[in-house]
């Protein structure tokens, strides 16, 4: 330690000097600039989303009525009719896809993060997941068509569910892995140190700690496939009538929208708009419900 009085020393930073004042002005200007740019970017991102929503409401809301939710499509030439079977069909196909895709996706992610670190199999799984993520959805549809539809010799809700499930898996697997990687190692050690077996630590401690992020990943995957048309064209096929059977062709909102949108009739165009609005609202509602449900058990002060 120096014994010299402080005032005689050259201070490392003199905030009163001219250069520091300019520096300070420069810094706050920079601060405003960067904050402004981030806000601008956020607006640019959100604006199209809001525009799409408003346009959908503008185009579709007028065609929404009780019949839309309770009736099946009317034959060509007749007015009215609804998409009740498509709404239910979409729900069934998405439920099937989630039941298959979410458990497999999460389990694969747990393997990658907790058990397979550094092994050749884990690297292969990770690589496959990344490739699968980039496979165009129409290719997925054709693959499932030849793998399931051709074998069964008919289109089916199940084939649609499988196609969507396979599309969900890579997203869920990779998010699960990433989220588990953010769980501090100390927490795993705490559990292992208490004599908790490794599998139980992975499931009840690591997975539970990472669950908010994993739920987000599942929701992203769900929302992504909920609007998919291409993989359903060759699998679920679509249906103008009620069907609850998993081994039969089933209606789905994106398919119905597609059929109506490319038709030459104005009435069908209006129904397609209404269907699009319902589809987007359904996705928003289900994502919100899951969020509320997932947040219910969160405690005060948890991180």
């Amino acid at each position: 330690m120096s014994t010299q009085p402080l005032s005689n020393q050259r201070r490392p930073m003199d905030f009163q000097s001219k250069s520091m004042r300019i520096n300070s002005a420069w810094r706050s200007a920079m601060n405003y600039l960067v904050s402004g740019l981030s806000i601008l970017a956020t607006i640019i991102v959100i604006l199209p989303l809001i525009a799409i929503l408003f346009y959908l409401v503008y185009k579709g809301a007028s065609s929404l009525n009780l019949a839309f939710f309770t009736h099946i499509p009317a034959p060509v030439g007749e007015l009215g009719g609804g998409m009740a079977n498509s709404i239910v069909g979409s729900a069934i196909v998405l439920l099937l896809a989630s039941l298959m895709g979410i458990p497999i996706g999460i389990a694969a992610g747990v393997y990658l993060a907790e058990f397979g670190r550094g092994t050749a199999l884990a690297n292969a799984v990770r690589f496959t997941a990344d490739v699968l993520n980039g496979v165009p959805s129409i290719v997925m549809g054709i693959s499932i068509y030849s793998l399931i539809v051709m074998q069964q010799k008919h289109f089916s809700a199940l084939a649609g569910g499988v196609a969507l499930a396979i599309m969900m898996v890579p997203t869920i697997t990779r998010t699960t892995e990433e989220m588990l990687a953010t769980v501090p190692h100390a927490i795993r050690e705490a559990a292992l140190g208490l004599g908790v077996p490794k599998w139980r630590t992975a499931v009840s401690v690591s997975l539970r700690t990472a669950s908010p992020g994993i739920i987000t990943g599942c929701m992203l995957a769900f929302a992504r496939v909920a609007g998919e048309t291409a993989p359903l064209l060759f699998t679920a096929f679509g249906n103008q009538f009620w069907s609850f059977r998993l081994d039969q062709p089933i209606a789905a909102l994106p398919l119905q929208i597609y059929v109506y949108a490319i038709s030459p009739y104005d009435e069908w165009h209006r129904l397609a708009w209404a269907g699009s609005l319902v589809l987007i609202v359904m996705i928003m509602v289900s994502v919100t419900l899951v969020r509320i449900f997932a947040n219910r058990g969160v405690l005060k002060g948890g991180s």
Binding site: A186, A191, G193, L194, G195, R200, R208, L299, S303
Partner: protein
């Protein structure tokens, strides 16, 4: 009641690094034993070998004999069973962030499938009282997350969590090094009380702490145990020159 631990020719490696070399040591039951030494000398590796946490690292391995009472922990039992009998408290408080205080304390039992509500309630109260935390948290047991407590409270909760599974030995790896002086002295008081029921092994960088809480002290240097004796002897009249240099602050 605690049991003694006998260590014979313990060697440990991380990859190709020979972190522990030929450790021989007898840790007496119902006493606190302190392990001191400079950073990286192998103290933490040593305690992690005692409850087989060492082998959770894929590149780590260990050879030698560690006996807890009559049990050879590397031969006669599974690592999971050993870790239930030798509780561990880590350097940094590591509560489970998603669990309430109650669930944190009881996690060792619950995660092993134990479900009896009445016994769980009693265990939470007993362990938190043992860890001198009961009065501070008894009203928020199920409301607050374990991570919402202060650092010192979290560490005492982690001690309660280790005690809840009813171990015979308590391994503490620098339990107070991340805490302020007040919390540290609470932890030390705790160690003082707990050693009547448990065998305690405490790794510490703080030599005053070793002198305050432990009957016996071992000095580690570069993966070897240089000296092991009563704490009084180590600090007043060490046999080895290196021990003397370390405790007088000439290196380390």
């Amino acid at each position: 009641m605690g049991v003694g631990i006998l260590v014979e020719n313990l060697n440990a490696w991380y990859g190709s690094t020979h972190t522990l070399q030929d450790i021989n040591l007898h840790i007496p039951a119902n006493h606190a034993t302190a392990l001191i030494g400079p950073s990286g000398c192998g103290k933490s590796t040593f305690v992690r070998c005692l409850n087989r946490m060492h082998e959770t690292n894929p590149v780590a391995r260990a050879t030698g004999v560690v006996k807890m009472g009559e049990i050879d922990i590397y031969k006669d039992a599974s690592p999971v069973e050993i870790r239930r009998r030798l509780g561990m408290v880590f350097q940094r408080p590591n509560p489970f962030p998603t669990m309430s205080i109650y669930d944190n304390v009881i996690s060792g039992l619950k995660l092993n499938g134990f479900r009896n509500r009445q016994i769980l309630d009693e265990t939470v109260e007993r362990s938190l009282k043992q860890a001198a935390l009961w009065e501070e948290v008894k009203d928020d047991l199920k409301k607050k997350s374990g991570a919402s407590l202060s650092g010192g409270q979290q560490q005492r909760m982690c001690i309660a969590r280790a005690l809840a599974v009813d171990p015979e030995v308590l391994l503490m790896d620098e339990p107070a090094s991340a805490l302020d002086p007040v919390s540290t002295s609470k932890i030390e008081d705790l160690i003082f009380q707990l050693k009547s029921q448990y065998t305690i092994v405490i790794v510490t960088h703080n030599m005053q702490q070793a002198a305050r809480v432990a009957e016996n002290t071992g000095f580690f240097l570069n993966g070897k145990m240089v000296e092991f004796d009563s704490t009084h002897k180590i600090f007043t009249n060490p046999r080895d020159k290196r021990t003397e240099d370390y405790i007088t602050g000439r290196f380390g």
